[in-house]
């Protein structure tokens, strides 16, 4: 009995302790949502009522409004923040991409540095402190951003593909910067390429600023072509004129494999159909979006031709059936840059790649050096020796060659500045400051450095001009750039490997492709539709479905979803008098 009583007493004490601890924490004021900054006024970013009173005086500056004059605006914001007792502003950038695209983060570090310098020069005691988060998969970063915004744990800047603008804007997750862009139109944005600037819009309003763009060339292994006895010196021109189509691609791929010059005729991306494989739809004269109705388009003839093309390639063993499940690092890149085991020539004749791969192959160790028997990156000179590049050919004779760009954008989260004091009171000012940082990060020099080291294409004319400037190129190669120490340190190893005249020539050589570029639709439901395409093309490649079945499968999937069904026009029918190859 005594033991029982003791046990009950012990249990009561334990529970009382738990309740006491819980009660203690419940009576405490909520802690700031994220890491606090150093200023003296340390209130919860979303709770103005608990913040200490702001130091105000009759001489306090008025709330700033952007004027279009960068330095003037920066000073006005700095003075205003200082008058409110803010001495440190904390921002976080969330960015994604290939390993060489670090300027997507460091562009904003440079902007913070530049603004800090302006404030220092003008005796303003405010400082921007940056944090970063990097994720290699752009889709994964988007998923994380989506789930983080409602919790307020997202980054203030979100650097990702423009295809997400529509959904993020419609959900109210990113800032409408239309008014800000208008103010800076003449001084900054007039210089941007109009087509790329348009990609930053949703329902006629700007929600982002372009960061980079790219083209998706088809790479051709020169050694495989030579082995086949195929002169490719004029191939890019033939493709440009629409005289070399996907029917010819098939014939050449078949020839390469049958002659034993390559194991595969064609290699392409894994996982998703967007963006690379969507080029087939445009190459076969199809479309994905109807601007008149604002609806997505499921273009049956073009989709059928795409599926049939890949189906025939896979059935003839010119393209791996399990292509969609290949690994980038262990299979795709090694297959493209190496020779097949025991063969003096490449493993594939064609590769549907991107301009950024050109520099990625120079920084990542995908190449197996037969002399040292070790993996290492390719040199720029080796790449020139190995690869020829051209547009994505027209589907049928009469169609046009294409490429597809997926401009990356600087987006500002709707709650940008949330980790700073007096957020509710000062959020407009934090938003303006965030925008000015994007303006600074869009400077030609930052844009040009990013292009040169990552193999992406510039989004503004002034950056393109720098890439043609011999002196500037030499300064880049020798790291004589007027950038902040953090950025210089971060890009030094990449510059060492990739900032070469050959690479800058490559960018110049592929820039004509932008004249042929297409953009995937900026529609909230496009990512969903693109997901269905990925499943369908996987089934086609694996032989689980014929192209006709896959088209019907897609139609059923669209119709089965009431939301998608109301937003997608299904146009055309399966062509009966068409064959491939």
């Amino acid at each position: 009995m005594a033991g029982k009583g003791l046990a009950i007493a012990a249990a009561i004490i334990i529970i009382a302790i738990i309740i006491g601890v819980a009660a203690y924490y419940m009576t405490q004021k909520p802690a700031p949502a994220t890491i606090t900054t150093t200023p003296p006024t340390t209130s919860s970013p979303s709770t103005t009522s608990t913040s200490s009173p702001s130091p105000t005086s009759s001489a306090a500056p008025a709330k700033p409004v952007l004027t279009g004059n960068f330095e003037k605006d920066v000073i006005a914001i700095g003075k205003y923040l200082e008058s409110k007792g803010i001495h440190t502003v904390k921002f976080t950038v969330w960015a994604t991409g290939d390993p060489n695209s670090v300027m997507r983060m460091y562009g904003l570090y440079q902007a913070a540095y530049d603004i800090n310098q302006i404030w220092k020069k003008n005796g303003i005691n405010v400082k921007i402190v940056m944090n970063k988060f990097w994720e290699s998969s752009f889709k994964k970063l988007y998923d994380e951003f989506i789930s983080a915004v409602p919790q307020g744990t997202n980054g203030d800047f979100f650097v990702n593909s423009y295809i997400y603008i529509a959904n993020l804007a419609s959900q109210g997750y990113i800032l409408n910067i239309n008014n800000y862009v208008e103010k800076y139109w003449d001084s900054v944005f007039k210089d941007f390429y109009p087509a790329i600037m348009n990609a930053a819009k949703y329902k006629g309003q700007y929600y982002a600023v372009p960061q980079d763009t790219e083209a998706r060339p088809i790479y051709v292994r020169k050694d495989v072509a030579a082995c086949m006895g195929w002169d490719i010196s004029n191939l890019a021109q033939l493709v440009k004129e629409g005289k070399f189509t996907w029917h010819d691609m098939f014939k050449k791929a078949e020839e390469a494999v049958s002659k034993g010059c390559a194991k595969w005729g064609l290699i392409h991306r894994r996982g998703s159909a967007h963006p690379d494989l969507m080029q087939f739809i445009f190459a076969y004269g199809g479309k994905l979006y109807d601007p008149k109705t604002g609806k997505l388009v499921f273009d049956v003839p073009a989709v059928y031709k795409w599926f049939m093309t890949e189906y025939v390639f896979a059935q003839h063993k010119l393209l791996p059936k399990d292509m969609m499940s290949w690994s980038w690092a262990q299979q795709i890149h090694p297959t493209v840059v190496n020779n097949c085991k025991g063969s003096p020539t490449g493993c594939t004749l064609f590769f549907i790649g991107g301009t950024w791969h050109w520099t990625e192959w120079q920084t990542k160790a995908y190449y197996y050096d037969p002399t040292t028997k070790k993996l290492r990156p390719l040199t720029a000179e080796e790449e020139v020796k190995k690869f020829y590049y051209m547009l994505f050919p027209a589907g049928d004779p009469g169609d046009k060659p294409v490429t597809l760009s997926q401009p990356f954008m600087w987006m500002i989260a709707k709650n940008a500045g949330k980790d700073n004091p007096n957020y509710n009171q000062l959020k407009d000012v934090y938003h303006e400051l965030a925008f000015l940082m994007v303006v600074d990060a869009s400077k030609p020099v930052i844009n040009a450095v990013h292009s040169a080291i990552s193999g992406h294409l510039p989004v503004r004319r002034a950056a393109a001009a720098l890439l043609k400037n011999e002196t500037w190129i030499n300064n880049l190669i020798h790291m004589k750039l007027n950038l902040c120490p953090t950025v210089m340190k971060a890009i030094a190893p990449i510059v060492q490997k990739t900032a070469k005249k050959i690479n800058i020539e490559f960018l110049a050589n592929v820039s004509y492709m932008l004249e042929y570029t297409h953009l995937a639709p900026s529609h909230p439901l496009y990512p969903k539709l693109a997901g269905f395409f990925a499943d369908a093309i996987n089934k086609v490649l694996m032989g689980e479905m014929t192209p006709k079945q896959a088209v019907n499968y897609m139609i059923q999937k669209i119709k089965a979803d009431p939301q998608l069904s109301a937003n997608v026009e299904i146009v055309g029918s399966i062509p009966t008098n068409w064959s491939f190859p």
Partner: protein
């Protein structure tokens, strides 16, 4: 029951009830609530107070009727749950019996070996099987079979339409079964060990074979445990998706035939469409099915008889 007894009961059951209500009952009702909202992209501020009635259920039924993949999802759920359940319960029982009759010096490491899949972090475990079943030459299974000249080309075990749906089913059942079987093994083994040794010795003295000892002593005395394992694993399998999700996401297993209902719910909520309203409706549907199946299982296993007070004097 007088007040004092009630208070003691509440005192001992209270903490557990609190945990169950906080982590199981409230989320269940929250999920049901979300199924009546248009929640997408986790936009809680915008959608949490918007009611759309049964619209998500209408959509779910529409999708079930017309989406070509939903038939596969339903069949896969039935096959995956029933076959893996049988493996987990019967396999666990067999392993427990085997280790019960083994020398302890052998049975302990043997059990440890079977516990490895459960102890391995899910992502690592899935990664091991990713490389094992990979469809190309980097897959271990393909490498072994090609070295033995049993196959000439790598086979996409979970993807190749020639082997679908069996290939995909085999992989997801195999990797989930391997994890689940150890749970049954531990419970049954502990149950066998708790049976008084005298009963076994007496049976042996009377000349009973091992089979008869199992049939007439071990199994009848562990009916409680059998019921518990069956019902627990049933619920667990209906809602498990982690390893399967990774193998589907990494495209080692076909996304249609490797997708049980729980994975469909997860993908709808988190990856493909981020449509939490629809996912909540599908999840509510799954909960309802789970409750019905649980009740049926308890009836079939005569749970009520087991909890009756013993008849007669003791």
């Amino acid at each position: 029951m007088n007040l004092k007894k009630k208070l003691i009961l509440l005192f001992f059951l209270g903490p557990m009830l609190f945990v169950v209500i906080l982590f199981y009952v409230i989320p269940l009702f929250l999920s049901i609530y979300i199924s009546f909202t248009p929640m997408t992209d986790w936009n809680v501020n915008r959608y949490l107070t918007q009611f759309i009635g049964l619209a998500n259920y209408y959509r779910l039924i529409h999708i079930m009727m017309y989406d070509p993949d939903m038939r596969a999802v339903i069949i896969t759920t039935v096959v995956f749950t029933s076959v893996t359940l049988a493996i987990n319960v019967l396999g666990g029982l067999l392993l427990a019996l085997a280790t019960y009759f083994m020398d302890e010096r052998l049975s302990v490491p043997y059990q440890g070996l079977w516990l490895l899949p459960r102890m391995t972090p899910i992502a690592v475990y899935a990664l091991l099987w990713y490389y094992f079943f990979h469809s190309s030459g980097i897959g271990l299974l393909n490498t072994i079979l090609m070295r033995l000249h049993l196959i000439s080309h790598p086979i996409a075990w979970g993807l190749d339409p020639r082997y679908l749906p069996w290939g995909a089913w085999f992989i997801i059942i195999f990797i989930n079964g391997l994890v689940g079987v150890s749970y049954g093994m531990i419970i049954f083994y502990a149950a066998f060990k708790s049976i008084p040794k005298e009963l076994i010795v007496a049976a042996r003295v009377d000349g009973a074979s091992t089979f008869r000892i199992i049939r007439h002593i071990l199994l009848p005395l562990t009916r409680w445990h059998f019921t518990f394992i069956t019902v627990w694993q049933l619920f667990s399998l209906l809602t498990s998706f982690a390893q399967t999700y990774l193998l589907v996401a990494w495209r080692v297993v076909d996304s249609t035939w490797g997708q049980p209902w729980a994975l469909y719910v997860f993908r709808t909520a988190f990856t493909t469409t981020k449509d939490q309203g629809l996912a909540a409706a599908a999840s509510t549907f799954l909960s309802a099915i789970g409750i019905v199946l649980g009740i049926v299982a308890l009836k079939v296993l005569r749970y009520k008889e087991m909890i009756l007070e013993p008849k007669g004097d003791i």
